[in-house]
Structure formats: C-alpha cells, structure tokens
C-alpha cells in the first residue's frame, strides 16, 4: 500500500519533468495527470481510513546525508491526504479549462503537500513542506510582470522561510529525526514549551494565524485561481496538520492542558479578524483569503480545545474538539476550494476580481451561481451544509468548556465561544456580500455584462467540491467515522470512549446529550419548503408579473449604460460600511472621511473609506526598520581602509590571545 502510494507520489515530479518538453500541449497531460493522481491519493487515503491503515514505515532507498527518508500513513495523515486528493483533483480539473501555465510548479506543489503529509521523519516532512512553499511561490509569482504580484510573492516566500526555520528548530528541540523515536522520548520542561512556541510560530505562519497572516491575502489573490484554491483549501491545512502532529502527537500525551490556551487565543483572534477583514475587502480572492484566515482560526481553536480537554483528562470532550477540528479542516478545504474556483470562473467570465466591477452574474452564469451558493452557505455555517456541521461540533466543544476545572480556562472557553459566534456571523455577512455583489443586482461593467457561463471543465471542477460539501453537511457522522483513527490520535488514544461522536450519519456531543441530525433537518426544510409552495400555489395561482425596478429615486441611467448605472447600486465599500464603523475602527484602523464641498462649490462630495491591517503597522514596518538600522550599523564595517581591516584582524587575534591567557591563568 505504502509502496504504491510512494510510486504514485513519484508521478508528480515526473509530470513536472514532462511539462517542459511538452510545451503548450503539456497542459492537458500535466493537469489531467495531476487530477488522476490526486483522485488516486484520495481513493488510497479514503480506502485506508475505511478498511484499515497500512502499518509501519516505508524506508525510501535514498535520503538526506544522515539517514534514510521514510513514509508512513496514520489516521491523521490519511485524513488530510483525503482532503488533498479531493481538492487537488478539483483544482487540476479546473486548470484544464484555463491556459496551460505554471506546469512545472503545479505537480511539485501537490507533491510537496503529499510528501509533507506522508512523511515519517522530520526532514522529509520539512522537505515536503518547504517544497510546497517554493512551488506555490512560483505559482504566486507566475504573473510576475505586475509589481503587486512580485511584492506578494516576496512577502510570501519570506514568511514561508520563517515558518520553515521555526519548524526546523521545533523539530530540532524534539531531538530525533524519526517520528517513532521522537514519540519514544517526548520533550519535557522548557524544551517542550519552546516546541510549543516554535510550532505555533512556524505552523501558525504558514497557516495564516493572526498576527502572522500578512502574506496570506496578498499571495492568494496573486496566484492563478486553481493555485489559490489549493493554497487556501489545502496548504493551510497542511500547516495545521504539522501543528497537530507536533503538539498533539509528537510532543507526547503528557503535556499540560494550558498548552491549548495560546492555540485557543490565536485561533479566536484569527477567526474574528479574518472574518471582519473579509467584510471590508473589495477583491473577490482577497476576500476569500481573509475568510480562510477565519476558518484556519476555527480549526486551531478546535485543536487548542482538544489540548485543554486532554490536559483535564476529559477524553470524550477532547475527542469532540478534535473531531470538530478535523471535520472543519476537511469541510473548509472543500468549500474554500469551491469558492476560489468560483472566483476563478468569475474572473474568467467577467474579467475582474473587483467586486465593484461585477454584478448580476446569476443571469449569465446560473450553474456557477448555484454551486457558489452551496460553497458560501457552508462558509457562512448555514445548515444543512458541511460548515454548519463542523462549527456545530466546535460550538458544542466550547459549550462544554465549563467542564474544565480552572476558572481561567472556563472563561477562555466562554470568550472563545462568543468570538466563534461572532466570527460565524461575520462570515455570513462576508459571504452574503460576496455573492450579492458578484452574482446579484445588475452588471457594473461592460465586461461583466458580457459574461458567459463557465466552461465544462470549470463546471465539472466546481461540481465535485460542491457535491462533497453538501454530502458532508448531510451525513457528517459518516465522514467523521472515517476520521476515527485521527481523532483517537489527537485526543490521546487511551482516553477516548468507545462510543464516538459520529452517530450513524449524525453527530452527538456532550456524551449523547445533544445531537445533530442534518439529514432530518434537511428533510424538514424540504418538507416545509415544498409544503409552503404547495399551499401557496393552491391559494395564489397567479403568475408573477415583471416590472421596472424602483430605483430608489435615482435619475435614469444615461443611454450608453445599457445595463444601468452602477453608481445607483450598492458598492463594495458601501456594503462594508456598517461593520467598518462598528468593528473596523478598533480592529482594522478603518476610517471614513467625507470631503464636503462648501456651499456654492460645484464639485461633488466625496466619501473616502479604507482600512489598514495592523500587522503592517505593528509588525512588518517595525521589523523592516529595525533590519535597516542594524544593516546601516553593520555597513560601517565595510567603509574601513585596509589598515582598518588589518586592525580588525589584529584585534581579533589579540582578543583571542587575551581570552586564552585569561582562561588558562584563571
């Protein structure tokens, strides 16, 4: 099994190597091949989860200078591999419909992620992890002729390097290279705490946790849509996988419960911050990227809760929290892939990512619109879609937070509960704004007015994640049953009770006290809807009439604007106004300024609105300034004459001799 998987993995670099000689015809081969391989990965992972995981570690015949590399698959890797396979297949199929670009980087990106997930030692994991970063950087930099994309790519790779360095140090603190050896001797004391900090810094950076998220919205917007889909849907999950692997698996079962608190705090901050920023962004892909920050935060909270519950010996609740994290990771991976692909389809069809240039696409792209509705319903955590099921689990875990035995932890869980609820509501607002601006209303630009329905490859690519989002939403229990090994791993194997949180196709929480049966909810919704429809048809059979829209008192649009005056429609900034005023001022330095003409002036009044991410002001700018100051000091060494250089050498020599004299004398 593992051998077959390893051979399958090798297919990716092979495809990358094929890309160059095949030239323009390579698109079909590379993307088609990638889709096939991804489906195989998903099948293998799903099959393993359903019918038994492969045992042991597969040693590779080659490796780094100090030892062999190894591959292994346990429940956790298989779960994330499943996500990679499904999302990767959709994104690859989507890419078939576009121009063949980034053909070398794409399979390598997939390869890096798969390698990181299947690695059985820290070097292989980080090799895959960093290969994933570099390959995706190449995809971000694909349109490098635009300055903004270059800046995004640069920031992205620097953050990726930071993540890599922190993770290397974290693994170094764990001592051994092979996971089995690390598990045998878990870290203790300050070493363990340092691992916690470094893992949070490293994986948190790559996952886009606040305040290390600055790269994420930029990079996801710059990459081609299928690449952003995977970066957002899967790559951040790989980072979370590493976080879970490090903190909940490799660091051993003995770590204290408070380890969960920083995860909970960072996760909650990311959730609210990301969701809020998604409400203010005016670019479809940036908006979706910010929503990714939110959902990554939610998954992190689940992991943190699992740690908290584990530390308090509440095995069942730890399993609940871990299940929430895992299910949400899968659900988000799929619906975010779907949404990014929708954004890509919209970009292809309407030629813009700016909300203010879209509108009314539901008429031109009805199928895409329906599929988009599925994705954003899940992102907004609406029943009966997958996002609701997983957030329900998370909320249930948080609602059980009072069972923790410390007041601080209880309060943290309560505050986190409020923040999750707020994040969910903010996400709903953001998704509504996205759909409303892009698909509803009237077109806002001629290009948008001439949009056509997405191509067949693109629709096919949207269909798979949309179907899965619906499926997981309806039968989350069945999905979680697959995650059982992973939940056991995360919750601390011994403590989990036999009866899991998956109950048939539904979910159960709080030792069976609360349950969710989305299938029945969906059935009831359908029943109510159809019933209402039948009654209404009976009582009110008249057909609808069409009439001109009431334009709220605006004057009629000029002749040349055949699709209506975009200025009379809500704008992206206008829709963001309530939240910008309510929350944006404090969290995002949101601002509004009205430039009113004085009486008698003929110029129009202008409203300037905007916001600034505080990570730039408080993190990036000071860091750059500090770097420049140090560099300026260092530079003074360079201005020395030869005599000065000799003096430095002489000083070194004398210093070392004096040191020697001191060491030996004393």
């Amino acid at each position: 099994m593992l051998t077959a998987l390893a051979l399958g993995l090798l297919g990716f670099p092979l495809l990358a190597a094929l890309a160059l000689p095949l030239g323009r015809r390579g698109g079909l081969v590379v993307h088609g091949g990638s889709a096939g391989l991804c489906l195989l990965l998903a099948l293998a992972a799903g099959g393993s989860l359903g019918f038994g995981l492969p045992e042991g570690v597969l040693g590779l015949p080659f490796g780094p200078a100090w030892g062999g590399a190894g591959l292994a698959m346990d429940g956790l890797s298989a779960w994330f591999l499943l996500l990679l396979g499904l999302a990767g297949a959709s994104a690859s199929v989507f890419a078939l419909g576009g121009p063949p670009r980034g053909l070398v980087a794409w399979p390598l990106f997939l390869f890096g992620m798969a390698l990181a997930l299947l690695a059985a030692d820290s070097f292989t994991l980080l090799l895959g992890f960093e290969a994933m970063s570099v390959a995706s950087w190449a995809l971000v930099a694909l349109d490098h002729r635009e300055e903004s994309n270059r800046a995004a790519a640069r920031l992205y790779l620097v953050f990726a390097a930071l993540a890599g360095l922190c993770l290397v140090a974290a693994f170094g603190l764990l001592g051994a290279v092979e996971f089995a050896a690390i598990r045998a001797v878990p870290p203790e004391g300050w070493r363990a705490n340092a691992v916690l900090v470094l893992a949070l810094l490293g994986a948190g950076t790559k996952a886009g946790l606040v305040p290390l998220h600055a790269w994420l919205p930029l990079a996801h917007a710059a990459a081609p849509s299928h690449a952003s889909a995977l970066m957002s849907g899967v790559m951040t999950k790989v980072a979370l996988y590493v976080l879970a692997r490090l903190l909940l698996d490799l660091a051993g079962p003995v770590q204290p419960g408070w380890w969960g608190l920083p995860l909970l705090a960072l996760g909650a901050a990311s959730a609210v911050f990301g969701a809020l920023r998604a409400n203010l962004e005016e670019d479809t892909k940036t908006l979706l990227a910010c929503s990714t920050i939110e959902h990554v935060g939610l998954v992190t909270m689940g992991l943190g809760l699992a740690l908290l519950f584990r530390g308090a010996d509440l095995g069942a609740l730890a399993a609940l929290a871990a299940g929430a994290a895992l299910l949400h990771a899968l659900a988000h991976g799929l619906f975010k892939t779907l949404l990014f692909l929708v954004a890509g389809a919209v970009l292809h069809a309407a030629g813009s990512r700016r909300l203010d240039r879209l509108g009314g696409l539901i008429h031109a792209m009805p199928r895409t619109a329906v599929l988009a509705l599925v994705g954003l319903g899940a992102a907004a955590a609406l029943p009966p879609l997958s996002g609701f099921a997983s957030e329900w689990l998370l909320l249930q875990a948080l609602l059980a937070g009072w069972r923790l035995d410390e007041f601080g932890a209880q309060m943290a869980a309560a505050a986190a509960l409020a923040l999750v609820a707020m994040a969910a509501a903010l996400a709903a607002a953001a998704m509504l704004r996205f759909f409303g601006m892009a698909f509803l209303g009237r077109p806002r630009s001629p290009r948008g007015a001439g949009a056509r329905e997405a191509g067949r490859f693109e629709l096919l690519a949207l269909l798979l994640p949309a179907g899965l989002t619906l499926l997981i939403g309806l039968v989350p229990g069945a999905a979680l049953a697959l995650a059982e090994p992973a939940i056991r791993l995360l919750a601390g194997a011994a403590q989990v009770p036999a009866q899991g949180i998956a109950q048939g196709v539904g979910l159960a929480a709080g030792e069976g006290q609360a349950g969710l049966l989305p299938l029945s909810v969906a059935l009831l919704l359908g029943l109510a809807g159809v019933g209402a429809w039948a009654v209404i048809r009976w009582r009110s059979p008249g057909a609808t009439r069409r009439g001109p829209v009431w334009n709220c008192g605006f004057i009629d649009p000029p002749e040349h604007l055949i699709f209506g005056d975009p200025l009379s429609q809500p704008s992206a900034a206008g829709l963001a106004q309530p939240l910008r005023r309510m929350l944006g001022g404090a969290l995002l330095a949101g601002r509004e300024a009205v430039a009113m003409p004085s009486p008698g002036e003929t110029r129009p009044a202008r409203l300037e609105a905007g916001f600034a991410d505080p990570s730039g002001r408080f993190l990036l700018t000071p860091a750059a300034r500090l770097r420049d100051a140090v560099a300026a000091q260092v530079e003074r060494l360079r201005d020395l004459s030869i005599r000065g250089c000799l003096s430095m050498a002489f000083g070194t020599l004398v210093g070392l001799l004096a040191l020697l004299a001191w060491l030996e004398g004393g």
Binding site: A381, L516, R539, T544, L579
Partner: protein, 319 residues
C-alpha cells in the same frame, strides 16, 4: 404509544404556532395602540393582510433572478422548522431530540441569509443597505445568544432545548442571578433579531433607519406574504423560546395526556400574552436608537451573558 403521542403533540404544536403567529403580531400591535391611546386594529388583522396579499399577483423587477422567487420559501421553511423545534404547550415532541439550540441559531441564520439575499437580488440601494445592516447586527446578536446558551448548558448539561426546558422545570435551580442576567441578554437579542424597537422599527418605512423592511421593498404578493408570515413566526418563536426556558411552568411534560396538554396550552397562552404585553410596553416606552448605537445595545447584552456564565463558573467551580 409514546411515539404516537409525540407525533400528535408535534403536529398540534405546529398547527398552534402557525395559527398563532400572526395573532401574536396583531396582539402586540393592538396592545401598543391601546397603550398609546388609539383603538388599534383587531389582532386578527395580520391574518387578513396575509390572505389579501396571497390574492395579489406578485410583481418582480425586470432583472430579478430566481433568488427572488425561491428565497421567500427558503426563509419561511427555515423559520418554520425552527419554530417546530421550540416547545409550546408540551414537551416531548417528535422533533425534540433534534431541537438543539445551536441548530436553532443556525436555522435562524439561514432564514436571515435568505432574506438578505432577496434584498440584494435586484440591486437597489436600500436592499443592499438593509442586508448589510441586518448581517452586521447579527455579528453582535449571535455571540450574546450563544453565551445565553452556555448558561443553559452549564445548568442543564445539554443544549437540547427540550432537555433544558425540562431541567429548568423540574430541577431545583431556584432563583439564580446568572439566569436573570441571561434572561435580560436573551430578551435583548430577541428584540434585535425581530427588528423591534429600539433596534429597528417594524412599522416604519423611513429610508435611513429601516433595516428589515428595506430588504422587502421589492417583495409583493405571495412573496411579501411569506416574508411577513416568516417574520411573525420568528417573533412567536422567540417569545416561545423565552417562555420555554425561563417560564417553563405549566407545560405538559413528555408523555402526558390531553388534559395536561390543555393545561399547558392555557399556561402557554397566558405566558405569551404576558410577553406580548411586556413587549408592547417596552416598545411604547423607549425610542428607536441610531443604527450605530445598536452594537452598544447588543454588546451590553453580550457582556451580561458573559457575566452570567462567569457567575456560574464561580458557583459551580466552588460546588
């Protein structure tokens, strides 16, 4: 037998609530009118309005999409399912195991989303404005609601509404400060969710202040009827929720017979009437607040709910 009983209770409950919802609206309006010294329309007036609207042919804007036609049904369905989960005169309904408070919040969010989508469908300025405001308010209302749920979960050990109601009815909880705080928070959320004064004014069409009505400007005929009916159901739902949790007295326990149901029905009618009276009184007494003051109103509710939970932590932690 038990199952048959629960099915019967469920159906009766559904029929009762569906029938009562417009009456609740009408009652509140009538009470308000009386308090303000007017005669007021009959409490049956909303039912008459609904039937009249059903007879009218709906007019849709030229560029309205399928959303405009489907969203009313979706919004109504979500609200109707939600209302079916909140016990009224008796516990132990067929859907009680499904009746989870978090799910309830989800269903309400679904209904809200459907309404907001419909508001944005045509692309008029008011629809978008109302949708944005409605969604923004929920960012404060939902956390407050969930913190209230947390209080119940701590006391009852579950988020199942039926079980919570049963616990509060049977359990010797006594009077708790935290429950009082939670009740206030819950009422504030209920006011906001239903677009009542001081958050929104259901009777106004003054452009700059409206939230809920702004999204319905384009709806007409049966669509408007559905929206109005859903709004009525929602108000009923919230009042029933408050009644079920904080005033669980008199409701028939699970598996009881028709006599208990009758008692429960009476008790429910009294409770609902009382709540309507409170609502009308409150609405008559306060003024509508500015839109951007609403977060402060809801934020206060949120803090109250958090305080309630914190007090419970202290008391249960020491126990």
């Amino acid at each position: 037998m038990l199952i048959l009983g629960s099915i019967l209770v469920q159906l009766l409950h559904l029929a009762l609530v569906l029938a009562a919802a417009p009456l609740v609206i009408g009652l509140v309006r009538w009470l308000k009118a009386r308090m303000m010294g007017r005669r007021g329309a009959s409490p049956l007036q909303p039912w008459r309005d609904l039937l009249k609207l059903l007879r009218k042919r709906p007019v849709l804007a030229e560029n309205a999409s399928v959303i405009s036609e489907v969203a009313p049904f979706a919004g109504f369905a979500a609200t109707a399912v939600a209302v079916a989960l909140v016990p009224s005169f008796a516990r132990g309904m067929l859907l009680a195991p499904v009746g989870d408070l978090v799910l309830l919040a989800g269903l309400l969010a679904l209904a809200r989303m459907a309404l907001a989508l419909a508001g944005m469908d045509v692309g008029t300025a008011f629809g978008g404005m109302g949708a944005a405001r409605e969604m923004s308010f929920s960012a404060f209302a939902e956390p407050a609601l969930l913190l209230c749920v947390l209080t119940f979960a701590i006391l009852a050990g579950t988020t199942n509404l039926d079980a919570v109601s049963a616990t509060f009815h049977d359990g010797a909880l006594g009077l708790r400060v935290s429950l009082g705080l939670a009740a206030v928070a819950m009422l504030a959320v209920a006011v906001a969710e239903n677009g009542r004064i001081p958050v929104d004014n259901p009777a106004t069409h003054l452009e700059l202040t409206m939230v809920h009505e702004a999204m319905l400007l384009e709806a007409s005929g049966r669509h408007l009827a559905l929206w109005d009916y859903a709004a009525a159901l929602r108000l009923t739902l919230w009042l029933a929720l408050v009644a079920a949790v904080f005033l669980p007295f008199g409701a028939a326990p699970a598996g009881s017979g028709p006599l208990a149901w009758l008692v429960g029905l009476l008790a429910w009618a009294v409770k609902m009437g009382g709540l309507c009276l409170m609502l009308a009184g409150f609405e008559s007494a306060v003024a509508k607040m500015r839109v951007f003051r609403v977060p402060e109103f809801l934020g206060a509710a949120l803090l109250l709910a958090l305080l309630a939970a914190a007090l419970l932590f202290v008391s249960t932690g020491l126990a």
